[in-house]
């Protein structure tokens, strides 16, 4: 699943570690999320979206095609 995590993190001037600390996950999880290798749980998605004052669907871009090709 595509997302705007890196864009929003950079916009706020945070490092991956700082973002990880804010949502209480490991830095590796942030790296995997930004690379689109890992899809977060609904709770983590909410925490991230709220941190950036966005709706989940504005931060994580769901595409049905991607689901079928995955």
């Amino acid at each position: 699943m595509k997302n705007r995590l890196e864009e929003m993190r950079t916009k706020n001037g945070w490092t991956q570690q700082e973002l990880a600390d804010r949502v209480e996950v490991s830095r590796q999880t942030i790296i995997s999320l930004e690379n689109g290798r890992y899809n977060p749980s609904i709770l983590l998605a909410f925490r991230l979206a709220r941190l950036f004052n966005l709706h989940i669907e504005d931060l994580f871009i769901y595409s049905e095609e991607e689901q079928y090709h995955a």
């Binding site: 209480e24 490991s26 995997s32």
Partner: protein, 154 residues
């Protein structure tokens, strides 16, 4: 008490229990070796298990004690240990290891069943030892390999 501090305190308690249990088992092993040397068992196995417990307990205490020194280390360690991606990777690895473990034990069970009616040679001596060692080591290897592979995939 903060949630993370409470969680670390629980881990520390577990570390102390493991350490104390280790010392008890080591003492028991040494006591039995000295006092009951005529027993037809290798009592160093008991001492060995005790040493393993002492090592695990001490390792746990060192790891979490260091984290308790400052708030940031504590928060990072808690986040890393409870991280949902890490938990998922460990769970997947555990599932795979369990399947392999169950398959190995089932193979042993079938072998014993066939051996009972003479269709297969009985598993005994070195063969039995190697089979049991495989039952322990292969699932562990699968677990470690699975964690390493999934860390790259996710």
């Amino acid at each position: 008490m903060r949630k993370s501090t409470h969680w670390i305190a629980n881990r520390m308690r577990l570390g102390w229990i493991t350490l104390l249990a280790g010392f008890l088992v080591v003492s028991l092993g040494i006591f039995m070796e000295v006092g009951f040397s005529s027993l037809p068992y290798n009592l160093r196995i008991v001492t060995g298990v005790g040493i393993l417990l002492v090592g695990v307990g001490a390792g746990t205490l060192i790891r979490y004690r260091a984290a308790l020194k400052d708030e940031q280390s504590l928060r990072r360690l808690t986040a890393e240990e409870r991280d949902e991606r890490t938990v998922m990777i460990r769970t997947r690895a555990g599932n795979r290891a369990y399947i392999v473990s169950a398959a190995l034990v089932y193979t042993g069970l079938m072998w014993a069943s066939f051996a009972a009616n003479g269709s297969l040679p009985p598993l005994a001596g070195d063969g039995l030892w190697f089979f049991l060692a495989a039952c322990v080591l292969v699932p562990f290897g699968v677990y470690v390999a699975s964690v390493l592979i999934d860390q790259r995939s996710f």
